[in-house]
């Protein structure tokens, strides 16, 4: 396990370095550097002022030199400032990351519970399998943002039970604002879990050790919980590992639909608001979290099933 971590961490670092370089040059292709934006927003600024601003902030340097200066500062721990929020980037990033982790964490938990329950139903009662299949197909094909809009129409517009989105005001309970976004992400994820849980469980339930447990007189409940489920959990963890990136993407769309503050919305707003330092750092942080989550899922998988050798 240690060997795997030692192997993966440099790979993660290299991926991040390459991603930051690629993103830096992509940003170089976006319209509007900070000086020309200042020029647009303040009519009293002359072209000479803009040129002086560019020289002051080093924007007249070539892209590569600016990248090296930025990367050097980042390695020294200087994250810099956000233009959009007029705050240090760290002060903007951490609350957003926490909010997204709460959202995605609750959604994954709910999706795993509901998915395994549905999958178990399909495996234990084969007659219900087509129904579970249909629900899974629906969850897979349903665009997350559409489900979000439909939930808003139903629960916020017609029934008025839950807020349509936004952030909870300080001092108020946060959970009503969490219900619809969590449901939106969880429904999409649940589909895949249900399918895989059904496949894995029905495969496990036909294995010889299940028959032998039954012959020894173990109850059906014990067989399911003690013998079949732990083994069926391994492919589910694989799925979770593969899905870490999709989850972050889902959070971006869902946060935009529900106007919920978080990493996804932060990234979107910073790209739209030409706040490129914040956009870049948010992207790198999201990528880092995704890759660490994948690594953690891989480790958990190995711990559950020691037969999975170290590649």
């Amino acid at each position: 396990m240690l060997r795997m971590v030692a192997l993966r961490l440099p790979q993660i670092a290299l991926t991040l370095a390459l991603l930051s370089l690629a993103a830096w040059f992509a940003i170089g292709l976006m319209p509007g550097d900070p000086a020309s934006l200042a020029l647009v927003s303040d009519p009293r600024l002359t072209a000479e002022d803009a040129a002086r601003l560019r020289a002051l902030h080093g924007l007249d340097q070539p892209l590569m030199a600016r990248y090296l200066a930025w990367a050097g500062a980042l390695l020294r721990g200087e994250l810099g400032y956000s233009r959009l929020y007029a705050q240090p980037v760290a002060d903007v990033l951490w609350p957003a990351l926490r909010s997204t982790l709460v959202l995605v964490g609750s959604a994954v938990g709910l999706a795993a519970l509901a998915g395994v329950a549905l999958g178990g139903l399909a495996a234990l009662r084969p007659r219900l399998a087509p129904l579970v299949d249909a629900v899974a197909l629906l969850g897979q094909a349903m665009p997350g943002f559409w489900l979000g809009i439909l939930l808003i129409i139903l629960f916020a517009v017609w029934l008025g039970w839950l807020p349509a989105g936004g952030a909870p005001p300080p001092g108020e309970a946060g959970w009503p604002f969490l219900v619809l976004p969590v449901a939106t992400i969880a429904f999409g994820q649940m589909a895949a879990y249900a399918r895989h849980a059904a496949a894995a469980l029905s495969a496990e339930l036909h294995r010889p050790f299940i028959t032998s447990a039954r012959a020894r007189g173990a109850g059906e409940g014990r067989i399911l919980w003690r013998h079949a489920l732990p083994n069926a959990g391994v492919p589910l963890l694989t799925l979770l590992a593969l899905d870490a990136g999709a989850l972050v993407s889902g959070a971006l769309v869902t946060e935009t639909v529900f106007a919920r503050p978080g990493m996804g919305k932060l990234l979107y707003d910073s790209v739209m608001g030409n706040d490129y330092n914040l956009a870049l750092l948010a992207l790198l942080l999201v990528a880092l979290v995704t890759m660490l989550a994948t690594l953690a899922a891989d480790l958990a998988q190995r711990w559950l099933d020691p037969r999975i050798g170290e590649r």
Binding site: A26, A141, W146, I149, S249, A279, A287
Partner: protein, 274 residues
Amino acid sequence: MTRLRLGLALLALLALAAIAAPLLEGWTGRDAFAPDLFARYAPPSAEYPLGADELGRDLLLRLLHGARVSLGVGVAAALAAALLGTAIGLLAAWRGGWVDAALMRLADGLLALPALPILVLLAAVDPAALGLPRGALATDMLRITGILVLFGWVGVARLARATAITLLASDYVRAARALGVTEAGVLWRHVLPGLAAPVAVASALAVAGAILAESVLSFLGLGIQPPVPSWGNMLANAQEAVFAAPLAAVWPGLAILLAVAACALVADGVARRR
């Protein structure tokens, strides 16, 4: 088998709808772009079967027009991704060694990254900086397709590589080589046909993924720009008007759902036939 037929029938229906858009326009004498401010948020009626949007444009006509954009981008991106992915997978399997290792590490890296945030970043790139006209539909479609291909080839390439490695080690490939068939001949005649089925499955899933991704980007305002309708940007408009015309949010989403489900059914059907 029934899945395959059902999926193909659904796709054919959607393609027909896309083709029918101008016909219906000619027949009703209205088009999908002309605003009519007297008909803002008109409820469904004989004149506007699905109602009208915030500028009084016919939602049904826009939905049909959106099918052209959404299906076009989806199919184009998936085809390009399938071609690129097959080529890369085949190359990796055939050359092996460091070429294989480098390509597969690249694929792993792309797969590990959160795609959508990167798509958002890329979608904001100024087309003018790359020498393309800004705001034209063709530019938008090309840009979205290119971005989707960038991530779409990975899945196809991994499948194609895995299959190609088994095929290259098979006896009939060894026999062909022993008979003096050139390497190009081996790949073209003996390996490529064997890749058809897995690549077809991966491509059908890629079409579904591309349609979803295009709708997400358009929904976020980074994809197809209004006034050209796509299912994604229609949903974005509908969300803004969620109190005035809640039903307007139903149809584009249903169209995306049908298209993606049809592709998934086709992929499932092909996979089960093997």
